[in-house]
């Protein structure tokens, strides 16, 4: 519970202190990227805090390199 509050606090701080000035100064591209990263970041952080397991993208590695792995791995 307190951890979620911490993440919420960080998000709000990020929003107010960094995002607003970016918008005001007119750096729309910066602000958009910031927003996207923030959203994804908050989502992942909340998943972490709540111990909610997402499928790992690293499993792709095993799939992509499958033919080579046969000769390589112990």
């Amino acid at each position: 519970m307190s951890a979620t509050l911490l993440i919420a606090f960080l998000t709000v701080t990020a929003f107010v202190w960094e995002l607003m000035p970016l918008f005001k100064k007119g750096f729309i591209k910066d602000a958009m990227l910031y927003l996207v990263l923030l959203m994804v970041g908050v989502y992942l952080s909340v998943c972490t805090i709540l111990l909610f397991d997402l499928p790992s993208p690293m499993a792709l590695l095993n799939i992509i390199f499958k033919p080579l792995l046969k000769g390589f791995a112990p």
Binding site: L10, T11, E18, T48, L51, P57, M58, L69
Partner: protein
Amino acid sequence: MQAEQRVSVRQMKVLLIFFIVGDLMWYLPSYTAGVADQDAWMAALLGVGLGIGVSSFIYWFGSRFPGMTIIDIHRHVLGKFAGGILSLLFLIHLMSNGSAQIRVIGDFMTTQMMTETPLRVVLFLFAAVVLISVRMGLTVIARTGQVFFMMFMLLFTILILLLIPESEPSKILPIASHSAADIIRGGLFVVAFPYCQMTVFLMLFPLLEEERLSLKQYMIPLIIGGAVIIIVVTLSILVLGAYMTQHQLYSTYTMAKKISIGNFLQRLEAILVINYLLSTYFKCVITLYAFCRGLTQLFGLRDYRVLTLPIFLFIFGYSYVISTNVVFFNSLGPAWALWEMSNVIFLLGFVYVVHLLKGLIKGKPLHSS
């Protein structure tokens, strides 16, 4: 802001050494011993030799395009769209590496030293410190590296000296009982892990204070790093033996546990953990700094510092998502090594071939006229 981030050659060398030593001590002995058993030391030798060659290629590639970071190079050679795709792959690679390094620390702390601490807490703290460092800029990071460098080298030397009495030369026999293929496979791990990751520095070389890092200055940290690798792997075999090295999760930690001076000063591994933590910290900071700079450069943003806070949340979450447990994470090792090596081939070699071809095609009209 951007103009302040200059480092001197000496600082760059310190950063290079920290980067190469980085997180190799966690798992490199296990992987090499896993393939080559007690000949892991030969695999390490071979790997270091090949790795220095690969890193020299990386350096040489960077010197073909002076003053340009790898993002610039991609854009220049392949155009905005294809270059952007490759750069994005590069950035994803950096991000995954950074998160993996944080995860390694987290796993280690929660499985070996502070078993009751939840993983997310350790990840949060470490990621916070790393991202704060990134925000402060490369000059500060480099200076911090210089401050800690002496202590790091001192502690490492003490570790080696204290472990030599614990070693048993019989554990290394029989020598060369494995086929060359096995040893090469082991060596490829060494090539992949510290040396192919040097692509990170292609983001950072333009930030040098003086114009260029000469090849000789670049080689010294590589050789020192390589020496560290060989020493660590060989000691691991000598002290623990091939079987233990293969099957222990963190073999250097296990090795450090065996230190005992005069039968009362034992269990000094916590002090050596400080060494490992420091080197992994620097590697992580350098990787994530390159990531932030790369991201701002790819999208043409103004300043990279604003992005540190959302990237912190992102990396924190991602380092947890990256794998559900320690076992899965360690099983990713071989695939990850292949990913590292394919990066060098595709992001660098392929790009250079295209560059050559472009040069040839452009050269033709000149010749024909």
